[in-house]
Assembly symmetry: C2
Homo-oligomer: 551 residues x 2
């Protein structure tokens, strides 16, 4: 009955629509067509009746609509002026958001791929996207066990399929039993599936040599971004000189700067020391916080370790110093798991994030297989430590508004923290796949560093922990001048040229932040070894060509 | 090599940790233990060395830490006072966020489930969660075809399995081909997978009788919440009386009020007319916007249709009037698909959302099978129409910061808009499953309305379009008084009592907003018919008992 009624309504609307279009359309001049002031139009808009033929009228109008070239519309500005929501009337904080990892250079790369597919001639046969740590897109094979369990969870009828190993089946059953109605299609608790949070807690305890971890402090998230943005949201308050300030490393992963811009928080930069392999020293933290106290209220310190884009791993001494510093300066610490075991000793408040694109401290090999699985599944978790109970309730409430993180990502997270164990049927193949993946990666990290350091004008720190290299490049004065004249950052100018000439897509260092007058690019080490070799040689040749051209 | 280095670091940290704990622990008084001022503690914290036994020390500290009862800590306030982030120093807008659908009553329901599982005696054998539209959790079976394709995408080795139908396989291949590296584990484009957005556009065109739909206007989202919050974010600006105001229906789905609170936008209420089956009339919209113009800048009008929690479907006349009104008052319209075909005629700006828990206008039967699959997968899309090009670029940029929506949810969305076609092997079973699901639902909608209307003091409008009923309940003066004295909303008091006495979890109307002096609850119609009958009778008996008790 309700179904019936809606059917009727909808077919009515279609007739109404066509009729309405004809009349309104007829009553308008070309210039007004899609862009005219809605107010006048709605006034001249005659009562809509229910006759006449949909098809023709509709297509004709939509055709007309599509007919107007975008340029024209923005040129004469009619559209923008007529609109409620324009670049001038939108949320100003959103405009401040920048995200280089998917910025103009990536958009151009996508265009180039289209142009290639349309048969356009280019100096290269394919676009190589080395801008983002997307392992599967680079041809990396997924871990069979993970995928088997996911398939079993998606379609439980497969549980009776004898070709699936028993441990994959029992794992799938356990996950499904913790889902409402034994289905991944159900909402989970807002904080995440209980059994998954328990497994994450056990994983952290194993990793930390028995330090107790309370599953109530584990929040499953939609990737890391979700958790990081939520934590920052809790911290932001005040106005003017009391506005919350958040310390982030430079270079940084631009999610942080983007989130701070959107929240209208004050970004406090502290610089990593490139000469000392991107290490972090306390005197620099102290300088940054002291200066910041003059114009904002520093409340949080973000640490990215292993570094992204810089790929370093901070020393033990550094870790101790950072924690003492945060406690002394009364800063909420937002950090990777690496710090948490040091933290209880300080009673410091901390939120610790795991993401699908970051690494687990203390087990690089394992962590990388993680990165290799989760990107598209948007899995992640954060652990909070020493958080005020009332604030924790607010956090849970805030997360509940988005109902729950994607359940397939939660299931996958469970497998990642709880992989096949010795003696289980899938253990052998799991270890084999993992080892293959990781020896290849270790090799590629080394290869990248070596090749880039043979190029004059490029110097590359070792890739210690992440899947990126962030080499420093020398850009000739003439090139800097030409870039500045065209209103571009010199390293954007450099990367854009490289993209056009070689099809290689990198992210300019300016997208992550860097010391003034220095230039870098971020490049993933993920392409298959043979492809990576070609890529590195193309970069080498391009850099030499570029240097000659502008010197 | 890098792996090796991190291994060492981590084991060092564990030793460091244990040692650090012992000394700090020894050097502290009980009161200070977990809560003392980090500054003093970090100053008394001795240099950490690398000896002594982890296990004991750690467990002893964490034991002590866990030992302190929460009440104690918040009572004496030591913890809170010591902390950087407290309820008094956190983001005030977050505190204003309310989300009844997962509020205190649901938390109590979870506790009750635990107590039951621990063998505690209750007047009921199980908790029935009728608070949220979570079909699978209510025992609804998933659509086989959807799950088969997901399994194939998760574990492509199954493509050679002869037990899977050919159309499921070809569908899986098409999805995988559009994923980076042919893997669901890859990031997708921020806006969503191209081929999925194309299928969504084709679906909209079919539904709207051929109106052209540009895939560039389709954004795949993480559930509807993601899209709605993002759109509101773009619209919010100004301060004081120029602050952006957004019109929402009362009763409303609390995602809207929660998002507005978080963004610090002004919520403008317009009331649906319960006497006229929750219809919406323009004079009320006009009243609301006129009053609002005195204290804010109304910029957007949100329409929820079919209604949630109210389940009505607005009339054709209403739809026309709303669009004219929005155009006349220059409001950005945020609406369900139902409106879009009327909109081109007005050149109005609109964002149209589909979610995993809402219904497709014009095809209730189909839409419900949608709700029945996607909850946990967090799939969704929005279509934007007539949006300013520069703003659209900002929208795309903003979405790119969270990289991409979960790929499994995108894949599922593709199947939902593009189900098996006549002649394809899975068509028969798909239609059979869908029909079974929907005839059951139509039956349950009717049953709910009928039974509830037999109860004196309960009146229930017909469930026309969503999966909820929102009956009005009479609460005796004495009960209202007792509730007010205990600082509760009367309908919260009512629902909480029902939960404790019957195990039935409903959401009080106050969580959605209602006319002063009226009381309601929201109840899903999703439980299996036999269970629903029991549930409705328990509600009936409870209401009669409650009324007697308090009259």
């Amino acid at each position: 009955m309700s179904a019936a009624r809606m059917q009727v309504l909808s077919s009515r609307n279609v007739r109404l629509l066509s009729r309405g279009r004809n009349e309104v359309f007829a009553g308008r001049s070309g210039a007004q067509r899609p862009g005219g002031d809605p107010r006048t139009r709605s006034l001249t808009c005659p009562p809509l009746s229910s006759s006449s033929s949909p098809g023709r009228a509709l297509s004709s109008l939509s055709a007309t609509r599509r007919g107007l070239p975008k340029e024209k519309m923005s040129e004469n500005g009619i559209m923008s002026r007529a609109k409620v929501l324009t670049i001038d009337t939108m949320n100003p904080t959103v405009k401040k958001v920048e995200y280089a990892v998917r910025g103009p250079i990536v958009q151009r790369a996508v265009e180039l791929e289209r142009e290639l597919s349309e048969g356009m001639k280019k100096p290269f046969a394919e676009v190589i996207k080395a801008n983002i740590g997307d392992a599967h897109a680079m041809g990396q094979q997924p871990i069979t066990f993970f995928r088997q369990v996911l398939a079993l969870c998606s379609y439980p009828e497969l549980l009776s399929d004898s070709t699936f190993p028993e441990d994959a089946k029992s794992r799938a059953c356990r996950i499904l039993q913790s889902c409402g109605g034994n289905s991944m299609g159900s909402y989970s608790a807002s904080q995440g599936i209980d059994s998954v949070r328990q497994d994450v807690a056990r994983y952290i305890e194993r990793r930390d040599g028995g330090v107790a971890c309370d599953p109530d402090n584990i929040y499953l998230t939609t990737g890391a971004s979700d958790g990081i943005v939520t934590m920052l949201k809790l911290l932001v308050c005040g106005e003017g000189t009391t506005r919350t300030g958040v310390m982030i490393p430079i270079p940084q992963y631009p999610l942080y700067s983007a989130a701070l811009a959107e929240l209208g928080a004050v970004q406090i930069n502290y610089f990593l020391n490139e000469e000392k392999c991107w290490s972090l020293d306390i005197t620099e933290l102290q300088r940054a916080v002291n200066e910041a106290r003059q114009y904002c209220n520093p409340r949080a310190l973000c640490i990215i370790n292993p570094g992204n884009p810089t790929g370093q791993v901070q020393s033990r001494q550094c870790i101790e110093d950072v924690i003492r510093f945060a406690a002394k300066e009364r800063l909420f610490l937002m950090a990777d798991e690496v710090y948490q075991d040091n933290v209880y000793a300080e009673g410091l408040e901390l939120a610790s994030f795991h993401s699908t694109s970051k690494c687990y401290m203390g087990d690089l090999r394992f962590s990388l297989s993680l990165c290799f699985v989760l990107c598209g599944f948007r899995g992640g978790y954060m652990e909070i430590i020493n958080m005020d109970d009332e604030v924790k309730d607010q956090l849970t409430k805030l997360l509940s508004v988005r109902l729950c993180p994607p359940v397939p990502g939660q299931a996958l997270m469970d497998l990642v923290v709880n992989p096949p164990q010795p003696g289980e049927p899938s253990y052998g193949s799991f270890i084999k796949e993992r080892t293959a993946t990781l020896s290849a990666l270790a090799e590629k990290a080394k290869l990248t560093e070596q090749v880039l350091n043979t190029v004059q004008g490029i110097s590359c720190n070792p890739v210690q922990g992440a899947m990126y290299s962030f080499p420093r490049i020398t850009i000739p004065e003439k090139a800097v001048k030409e870039a500045t004249e065209t209103g571009q950052q010199p390293d954007m100018f450099y990367c854009m040229k490289m993209l056009e000439e070689t099809g290689i897509c990198l992210v300019p260092g300016s997208g992550f932040g860097q010391k003034d007058g220095t230039y870098h690019f971020r490049m993933t080490i993920l392409p298959p070894t043979d492809k990576l070799k070609i890529l590195l040689n193309k970069v080498k040749e391009f850099h030499q060509r570029f240097t000659q051209q502008y010197s």
